[in-house]
């Protein structure tokens, strides 16, 4: 084998066909599955046994971090340079609440978006699948199932025949 393949890319016409094929591929014992669709297709992640995303936890931590940072910052500035304004308290939580709220949201939202990109391995300029001849339709109206070459059951000919059999309208071998 001169060049090891990245995997086999199978094309389907509709989300339903893709979902059905993904289920069959999983039942046939394939593990390294991924699907590529123009819009999120419900249920695919469950079929392919993908772990639940942890973005919400990152957001929670980011929110607490932002709120805590805002509170400490406001207390510290008033501690560092106490200014008596008509006898008003130096550490009024009601007056600090607005900036705390804003920074809670800011840190939480930004940390979730950064975590999403980070966990997805984005941004990146190229990816083996972009070399596939019909892959550009994955952002238009075609639905793709990819069986990775690292899969234990992966065998270029057998897997290709299997994908044809479960209804793929085209199957393409993608070089790494």
């Amino acid at each position: 084998m001169a060049e090891r393949a990245y995997g086999l890319l199978a094309e389907f016409d509709s989300p339903e066909a893709l979902t059905a094929a993904a289920r069959k591929a999983r039942d046939a014992g394939y593990q390294r599955l991924d699907a590529f669709t123009p819009f999120p297709v419900e249920g695919l992640a469950r079929i392919m046994r993908m772990p639940r995303p942890t973005i919400s936890r990152v957001g929670l931590i980011g929110g607490f971090g932002g709120g805590g940072f805002a509170l400490l910052m406001q207390c510290y500035t008033n501690y560092s340079f106490p200014l008596n304004v008509g006898g008003r308290p130096l550490y009024p939580l009601s007056a600090f609440a607005v900036v705390m709220f804003e920074l809670t949201i800011l840190f939480s939202a930004l940390s979730m978006i950064v975590a999403m990109l980070w966990q997805n391995g984005l941004p990146r300029l190229n990816f083996p699948l972009f070399g596939a001849s019909r892959f550009h339709l994955a952002t238009k109206d075609r639905f793709f199932l990819c069986v990775g070459a690292e899969d234990e059951k992966f065998d270029e000919e057998q897997t290709s025949a299997f994908l044809q059999q479960i209804g793929a309208s085209s199957v393409e071998s993608v070089p790494r």
Partner: protein
């Protein structure tokens, strides 16, 4: 809201067709001439803003009509107006995403884009109003040689945190929603320059199921944060007024009154943009009469809530029995600026009543005219709130008047250019309607039709 009995999008169209139609707008030039004329007009306005700002920086805020009792006037009035317009974009996008309202999908992208540039227009006003704008960094906590810090117990300091947070989160939310569409445009592009532009901006998105899973969670949660953010930002803006003891401002009705008024003016501007864009780019298959119908209903509902704010503001003054409050109320109704008060009432609430009729809501030009009236009415309202409270201070000796100068007007019309130029560029260079969400909705509708 999620009425399942009728489809919001015509189902007799294909997903690929929608994708080609929408990516085709940036990639081709179907309406070059009209776009160029609009761009020329907008650029002239922007040029006027630049001249006004240069003169302002050279001469100082004295070139405006502001004086000592009326020291806020146009700068803060237009700041509140622009920021309010911006809020509708976030509400359409985030709130309706969470309530799974299907009609949002054709509107959210340009509504969000409108938000970004409206917030920019709002944001420059307080900076211009500073008098010495090069000291803007004093608003941020940095270790100064004099050991002083910004005053975090003042609403004026809250303001910059609120607006900058709002701008940042809006940009992040907008861009996150845009990534899959930039990828779609990348895959349709045939010219090298466009391929590079969309290839870089789409960050290598490939629509993997694992990516969609994380993306959806991040997008929905950010939307969930954006909704309270909108409410907090405009409430905070109202606290600039309500936290002072000026009669006509010092009232607990202000935060909800401001937020609802913001949504009202914002939804009106979204209607203006929706009607214009669909006739401009021929998007009748995506922005349907049903969309206008729903927009009309929302404008009517938020308008009536704003009207409640007017009633309660009057009640508040009467109930307080405070002589200064009553004086301000009388000044508003019958004083030198009564035209602003009655103008606001007439422009905001009289044409609005036509929206009770279904035919009016579903016709582009009538919805457009009513929305323009609302935008003007809300502009008058912000003017009225500012000037009528300030021009007669507690001390008779400091009473004065405010008349906008030429530079007041040129700066204001200039900010319309500051809004339009980037907006026109955006609708030219990025998919102006969310492609993947429209496809998703179309697929769902087709599935339901087939049973």
């Amino acid at each position: 809201m999620s009425d399942r009995s009728a489809d919001i999008l015509p189902v007799r169209q294909s997903m690929g067709g929608i994708s080609d139609q929408l990516t085709g707008i940036p990639l081709r030039v179907p309406v070059g001439q009209r776009w160029l004329i609009a761009m020329l007009f907008a650029s002239l306005l922007l040029l006027m803003l630049m001249v006004s700002v240069v003169v302002l920086f050279a001469e100082g805020v004295g070139i405006w009509g502001i004086n000592i009792p009326v020291n806020w006037a146009f700068a803060i009035h237009n700041y509140v107006w622009w920021l309010g317009i911006g809020h509708a974009g976030t509400l359409i996008s985030a709130l309706l995403l969470l309530t799974q309202s299907d009609w949002r999908n054709s509107l959210n992208r340009f509504a969000e884009t409108m938000t970004l540039f409206a917030v920019v227009c709002a944001g420059i006003y307080p900076v211009l109003h500073l008098g010495r704008p090069w000291y803007i960094y004093w608003m941020f906590p940095y270790p100064a040689t004099m050991d002083v810090w910004p005053q975090f117990r003042s609403p004026l300091e809250w303001d910059i945190w609120a607006v900058l947070t709002y701008l940042t989160v809006s940009v992040a939310f907008w861009y996150t929603g845009l990534i899959p569409d930039l990828a779609a445009a990348r895959d349709r592009a045939t010219k090298r320059g466009w391929q590079i532009f969309f290839g870089v901006t789409s960050l290598g998105w490939r629509g993997s199921a694992a990516h969609w899973l994380r993306w959806s969670q991040a997008y929905r949660l950010t939307a969930g944060l954006a909704v309270p953010l909108v409410v907090s930002v405009h409430s905070e803006v109202s606290l600039l007024f309500a936290a002072g003891q000026i009669p006509g401002w010092h009232s607990t009705i202000f935060p909800p009154y401001f937020v609802l008024g913001a949504a009202f003016s914002g939804f009106a501007v979204v209607s203006i943009i929706a009607v214009s864009l669909r006739s401009w780019f021929g998007l009748y298959n995506l922005v349907t009469d049903d969309h206008l119908d729903v927009l009309g209903k929302v404008v009517l509902a938020t308008g009536l809530m704003t009207a409640y704010g007017y009633v309660f503001e009057v009640f508040d003054a009467l109930y307080s029995g405070d002589s200064h409050e009553l004086q301000t109320l009388a000044d508003r109704l019958t004083g030198a600026y009564a035209w602003a008060y009655w103008g606001a009432i007439i422009f905001n609430f009289v044409p609005l009543q036509a929206l009770w009729w279904r035919g009016v809501r579903r016709t582009g030009w009538s919805l457009l005219l009513i929305s323009v009236a609302v935008a003007i009415g809300m502009w008058l309202e912000r003017y009225m709130i500012l000037v009528t409270s300030l021009y007669r201070d507690f001390l008779v000796s400091s009473w004065s008047k405010f008349t906008p100068s030429f530079w007041d007007w040129s700066t204001y019309f200039g900010t319309i250019g500051l809004f339009l130029v980037p907006f026109l560029l955006a609708i030219r260079f990025i998919p102006l309607i969310s492609i993947f969400e429209t496809e998703e909705l179309l697929h769902k509708e087709k599935e339901e039709t087939h049973g």
